[in-house]
């Protein structure tokens, strides 16, 4: 009897607590809403930054870039004379976290624009939410830029943009450049592909392989290892046996670092030219140390770029965050900054925050950003932008060659249905 009595009082306590929480909320949000209507037009930009978890370095960079953009926009009077407010929430680097935070930003903070996320998995989780709420969303990192419409994978979304470079923009010129540089005389160019065994490396490498075959290369190897792999010696030995001219590594994160550390042990670096996708970002390179020496990668941004926008951006960054050594992710801070600036331009062109006018003014919008001249491709919502081949020396990126402005060839189909 007593037991039951207690249970009901526990439940009662729960009732009161949850009830209090529930009753408290609508009041406070109505206050928020009325406050928002009073100041009339504060433009709120939601930033989904993976500030904890395995992408946390990128997350912090994304936030810093966004803060610089916020300060700069407000210093010149905001967007359409409305002050700009940036709200950053932590996605914990997980897709479910990104989805929850996207809902929070939309439903609680009533943001007019979403920026960020660190991985394509997170992006895919956010796309349906932002589309359903008709809130424009700009993916600010590189990689797969999924800009399709949920439910219609072959149609370009009205609410999603990809501001980073995609591998498809870069693969052909990159392979051509490396062939020109490392082909042995009177022999066909030999390429070996390795990658993590999941969606991104597989699709990226599949496309690269297709291009390589079109260019007449010989693909001497193509293999994928699951992310829990800790011993890459057999893989490296197979690569040594196949003796390629070029090795493409698509093992983002820790597995790429492990691979490169073990490749160094077996002396792979001296024998084969190495390049890859999403594997050689600054965080990975920091952890690879000497194992990253001489690796080629393709990128849209380096803090060394010489143009007025970048000089100003780097100067502001140094001033705002003097204790941060450099831009931690190669493109995270610059990417978030650029995405917000171009969105601000689109809002100004539209004269309102209406998502459909925003979409109209984003079509074909051109602007100079720190990474150079950027044009929003109306066909696929992906930013056309200059690309560079960089070589890593002493863990720093050095621009080797400028590939010029590159365009993403078609719409990247989504797995969102």
């Amino acid at each position: 009897m007593c037991a039951r009595h207690r249970t009901s009082s526990v439940t009662l306590a729960l009732t009161v607590l949850v009830g209090a929480l529930g009753c408290d909320r609508p009041n406070s949000t109505t206050i928020d809403r009325s406050a928002a209507t009073k100041t009339q037009r504060e433009i709120t930009i939601g930033v989904l930054a993976p500030k904890s978890g395995f992408m946390s370095g990128h997350g912090n960079s994304i936030e810093m870039g966004a803060r610089i953009a916020e300060a700069e926009l407000n210093a010149r009077g905001g967007i359409n004379n409305a002050p700009v407010k940036v709200v950053t929430l932590d996605t914990t680097s997980e897709p479910s976290g990104a989805a929850d935070r996207a809902r929070e930003l939309i439903q609680r903070f009533h943001v007019q624009l979403l920026i960020g996320t660190g991985t394509s998995a997170s992006t895919l989780a956010v796309i349906p939410i932002s589309t359903a709420a008709r809130v424009p969303f700009i993916y600010s990192l590189d990689g797969e830029c999924k800009t399709c419409t949920p439910g219609a994978p072959q149609r370009t979304s009205r609410y999603v943009w990809g501001s980073g470079f995609t591998e498809r923009m870069a693969i052909r010129p990159m392979l051509q450049y490396l062939e020109g540089r490392f082909q042995k005389p009177s022999k066909r160019f030999r390429v070996y592909f390795i990658g993590g065994d999941y969606v991104y490396p597989r699709t990226t490498n599949a496309y690269a392989r297709q291009v390589a075959e079109e260019l007449g290369f010989v693909v001497v190897g193509n293999e994928y290892s699951d992310t829990s792999t800790r011993d890459y010696t057999p893989v490296i030995r197979r690569i040594l046996t196949a003796n390629p001219d070029l090795l493409i590594v698509t093992n983002p994160g820790a597995s790429g670092v492990t691979f490169m550390r073990q490749a160094l042990q077996l002396g792979l670096n001296g024998k084969v030219a190495i390049s890859g996708f999403a594997t050689f970002d600054q965080e990975a390179v920091d952890a690879m140390g000497s194992a990253s020496e001489g690796v080629y990668c393709v990128n849209r941004y380096s803090n060394e770029l010489q143009n007025a926008e970048n000089t100003a951006f780097v100067a502001t960054f140094r001033k705002s965050y003097p204790d941060k050594p450099l831009l931690p992710g190669p493109t995270a801070a610059g990417g978030a900054y650029g995405a917000i600036l171009i969105a601000a331009r689109a809002f100004e062109k539209a004269g309102s925050t209406d998502p459909d006018s925003f979409h109209a003014s984003m079509q074909g919008l051109a602007m100079n950003l720190p990474q150079g001249h950027v044009v929003v491709d109306p066909a696929n919502n992906i930013f056309q932008q200059p690309m560079y081949i960089m070589q890593i020396r002493a863990q720093k990126y050095h621009v080797v060659t400028d590939l010029g402005i590159q365009r993403h060839p078609d719409l990247e189909a989504c797995s969102v249905q």
């Binding site: 932590d90 439903q107 609680r108 796309i127």
Partner: protein, 319 residues
């Protein structure tokens, strides 16, 4: 009678959230309810029968994946929930028979379920054609129920939340009802001394197996209902963290009380959603610290025990 009344009261109270709170809070409380049900179901086998399931997220995840996969392939919502539950039951039976066939230690059984959960995570990443690989299956919306000619779109308003609310409290009530009946007393006996239970002519293995199956089924249903809220089923559902978190909820809520873990899971989940983004980079550090300290300070049942120590002997039914 009082139990039923308190459940109805609880459900009605939480329903207020669906009526008055903003959309975001409704979703949060909805998810929290399901975590509560999940915790209660784990408590049913761990706290009541003494069968430790370290990998309970396996069942939660299976339920979640089935609904996500089902929606993508155009299955009926109810059908996918059932399919997930049946699969979870099958997995639970296989693991249960394996580990309980001979007298494996509690910990050994627990670790096996954890290995199974981590294997499922690997499998979900590897099967990218079926399970979407590391991206998971995203874009899951609230289901539309079709019975005969009647169509009910749960995506409108807080309808789905009310459904979940009802199911969570009915689920909790059923667990409590099972726990207070003959089977519940039997499972308590098994927890205390399974050899003596065997001497009375019962098969303790069957009691443990049944208990595990109840956990599997209820966890799977909670996972299945969770996906339309979160919108995504991903391999992380099977990872170590969710597996540990649910144990944390049970330990903090007070083992064997069912309601304790339910409430604890709910409240902690709500707190995490509400405050998590304010502490950001130190959030996990705080979780770890609070956790160590609360386990360390309490006398055996976590935070709840600190509060409830005085009447613990009454809420934990003993023989």
């Amino acid at each position: 009678m009082k139990v039923a009344l308190s459940m109805v009261l609880g459900a009605v109270a939480v329903s207020l959230v669906g009526l008055f709170a903003d959309d975001y809070l409704v979703e949060i409380v909805g998810m929290a309810l399901l975590f509560g049900l999940f915790a209660a179901s784990v408590d049913f086998s761990w706290g009541r029968t003494g069968v430790l399931t370290l990998g309970a997220a396996l069942y939660f995840g299976i339920g979640a994946y089935f609904v996500a996969f089902g929606q993508r392939s155009g299955w009926d919502f109810f059908g996918s929930v059932c399919a997930g539950t049946v699969t979870s039951l099958a997995v639970a039976v296989i693991i249960g028979i394996t580990a309980l066939r001979v007298r494996a230690s509690t910990i050994q059984f627990g670790l096996m379920t954890l290995v199974a959960s981590l294997s499922a995570q690997q499998l979900a990443v590897s099967l990218y054609n079926v399970a979407g690989g590391s991206n998971g299956i995203s874009g899951i919306s609230k289901p539309i129920l079709r019975v005969h000619r009647y169509v009910l779109d749960l995506g409108i308003g807080s309808r789905y939340f009310f459904l979940v609310n009802a199911i969570a409290f009915v689920g909790l009530a059923i667990l409590r009802w099972l726990a207070s009946g003959h089977f519940g007393r039997l499972s308590l006996c098994v927890r205390e001394n399974d050899e003596r239970v065997a001497a009375f002519g019962y098969d303790p293995k069957m009691v443990k197996l049944t208990s595990t199956m109840i956990t599997a089924a209820v966890s799977s249903i909670a996972g299945a209902l969770f996906v339309p809220f979160s919108g995504i089923a991903e391999p992380g559902l099977f990872a170590i963290r969710p597996n540990m978190l649910v144990l944390v909820w049970v330990a903090m809520g007070g083992q064997g009380t069912l309601v304790g873990p339910f409430v604890t899971a709910m409240l902690l989940q709500i707190v995490q959603f509400e405050l998590g983004s304010q502490f950001e980079d130190v959030y996990l550090l705080l979780v770890g610290l609070v956790f160590v300290v609360s386990v360390r300070l309490s006398g055996g049942g976590g935070l709840a025990a600190v509060v409830a120590r005085s009447w613990r002997h009454r809420i934990v039914p003993t023989l």
